[in-house]
Symmetry: C2
Subunit: 405 residues, 2 copies
Amino acid sequence: MTVGLTGLPPLLVVPGIRSGAAAAGLRKPGRRDVVVIECVPGTEAAAVFTRNRFCAAPVVVARAHLERAMPRALVINTGYANAGTGLPGMHDAEACCSALAKQLGCEAHEVLPFSTGVIGERIPLDRLLAALPATVRELREDGWSDAAQGIMTTDTVPKGASRRVSLGGREVTVTGIAKGAGMIQPNMATMLAFIATDAAVTRETLRACIGTAADASFNRITVDGDTSTNDACVLLATGRAGNPRVDHAGPSYDALRAAVTEVCMELAQAIVRDGEGATKFITIEVTEGESETDCLEVANTIANSPLVKTAFFASDPNWGRILAAIGRARVSRLDVHRVCLWINDVRVVRDGSLAPDYTEAAGRAAMRPAEIRVRVSLGAGRYSARVWTCDFSHDYVSINADYRS
Amino acid sequence: MTVGLTGLPPLLVVPGIRSGAAAAGLRKPGRRDVVVIECVPGTEAAAVFTRNRFCAAPVVVARAHLERAMPRALVINTGYANAGTGLPGMHDAEACCSALAKQLGCEAHEVLPFSTGVIGERIPLDRLLAALPATVRELREDGWSDAAQGIMTTDTVPKGASRRVSLGGREVTVTGIAKGAGMIQPNMATMLAFIATDAAVTRETLRACIGTAADASFNRITVDGDTSTNDACVLLATGRAGNPRVDHAGPSYDALRAAVTEVCMELAQAIVRDGEGATKFITIEVTEGESETDCLEVANTIANSPLVKTAFFASDPNWGRILAAIGRARVSRLDVHRVCLWINDVRVVRDGSLAPDYTEAAGRAAMRPAEIRVRVSLGAGRYSARVWTCDFSHDYVSINADYRS
């Protein structure tokens, strides 16, 4: 079940980018599970990776390759995360890069590998390598939707977004795809996102752009508080639009950053809307905090509380669980007598106690929609933060109890 | 469902303590929901309370009363937590103390109130007060098991434990009761525990005793990472055993502390074994850490990971999820290449990668029993820590989605 997702929007071609997918039979026969995204020579790239200390072999390899050269291709497999696989796992990731490089006529270190799936088991490398020629044959400029489908794991729908923006008089395109759907938590939790633009951008600027965009999007979503070993978000810029090369400052950078952020935000929210077993999409906004860190801590504590999440699943305005979550958040100071709470437009708590005009009927009505906004005011300062999450349903347990079987 | 609990063990009488329970019809008609524990004049008391900043009215009142005088009685209600109820809630808690004090012939501030249940709604005070005379009539020395039943909420079985110990040549008894069963997390998560002994102990010593015991027991269990507004653990010492009054140092203190800790440990483990929807009882032991804090952080991150907990429910040796949890624990340093992991006696991970002698069959077999021990070695120092938790099942979602309905 997904909340308010109506399938893939039209994904615009990005000149200089071709993608394709094929079925290697890695985990489920017949399902497309290998994706290649190829970019023209001269494409700049920047990426952010998981902060989990057990990072997967492909993360280590991709980071190293990216430091060494501009990439010519990305190769992504599902089914196996290639994490916790030690040195053999590193060799597998490198072997995959070499094989693809040979077919594309580039160097192995110009290929960036990405994996998602079960941790700790070796990738069936022979099958993966055998599927590469077919994947390369599938490469085409309008391959985005195939690629979006090819990177899915427990996702129930493919995720993509596109924007157009004018930079120095030239129309520029930004298109991205992503996969979720569980183990989502700030700082690149199990999530892969690949975004490309035909804008001409310096590498430094591209880095700043993806950092800012990821911070406002992928680092603000949480499904279950778990973070993964494999997550990555890559931004490619082919330069084919012919715009004056975007440097850090100025209106062109702002416009590009806004477009990339919008794409990332739409992808991030789609991941939550398709969260494992999700029946509700919840925006949690914490305002009037002493710092943004405090606001984020409170928002994430609410968003990750299993008791709060099961209450959302039940459409139960059990606001006491939200207060209890606020009360245990790791913030240095909290004056409970200043805390106010709204569910949608219903004020539930005023100055730490039940609001005098609150009624259970109003609370129930506010919890009923599939999209809910929780707002908490801490009454302590001028900072705020917002995160997106989903509820915790029977299906979450089913999906995760049966994942490997 | 509970894991390895076979009902209430025999609970020994503690001279100087009488308890009783009655049905006030607070939430469910006919169910005993009010409990009084009365103690003789001269009884010393010490307590630890929730660290949640939204602490309930009864917590505030009990703490204040305890500072002012030695208690003569405890009054506990279920159904309503009396938290988030503002000043009216404080008055309700005080009114309850006054009413009971009148019946017992003591002062209101010699009564300590405790509540557990739904947050944010006022207690139906008239019904609670109307049931007090019946509760007082029920008071008797062997009332422990009635009291254990009377404090239950989503618990499926009553919880109690007793120990005998010799102090200075005198036989002394320690008996305790507790309730869980969700919202359990270190630092007095929704949990009430009442422990009594007939030992003669100074107040200072009693404080040290309950602090140490709670730290080794109630602060080492977690069901879902949520902590509550109401939790409390009280230790009463009537002095009726006639032993030489126990002061801080010496073998008598050690013996008493050991007995109280054993009772608390049995109660704490019973809470996890009866965790909401639990089908497995899991001991997580983290060794060779740089500090106890690091070990605890790693243990709690594993214990609270929904992905790890659903894998336990499915008996799936999905050890990658355990590694991912270790990798995101908030410890200052972690050398993943030194991490080892065992499930029961099966070594799964050696030096950060799959152990060469590990087989999936062995992993599956290790995950099958209802009691599982996970051991993680960080290879960084000489500290260790142990926590107890349970799995995450469909029933957890059902229980918490339907709690108020």
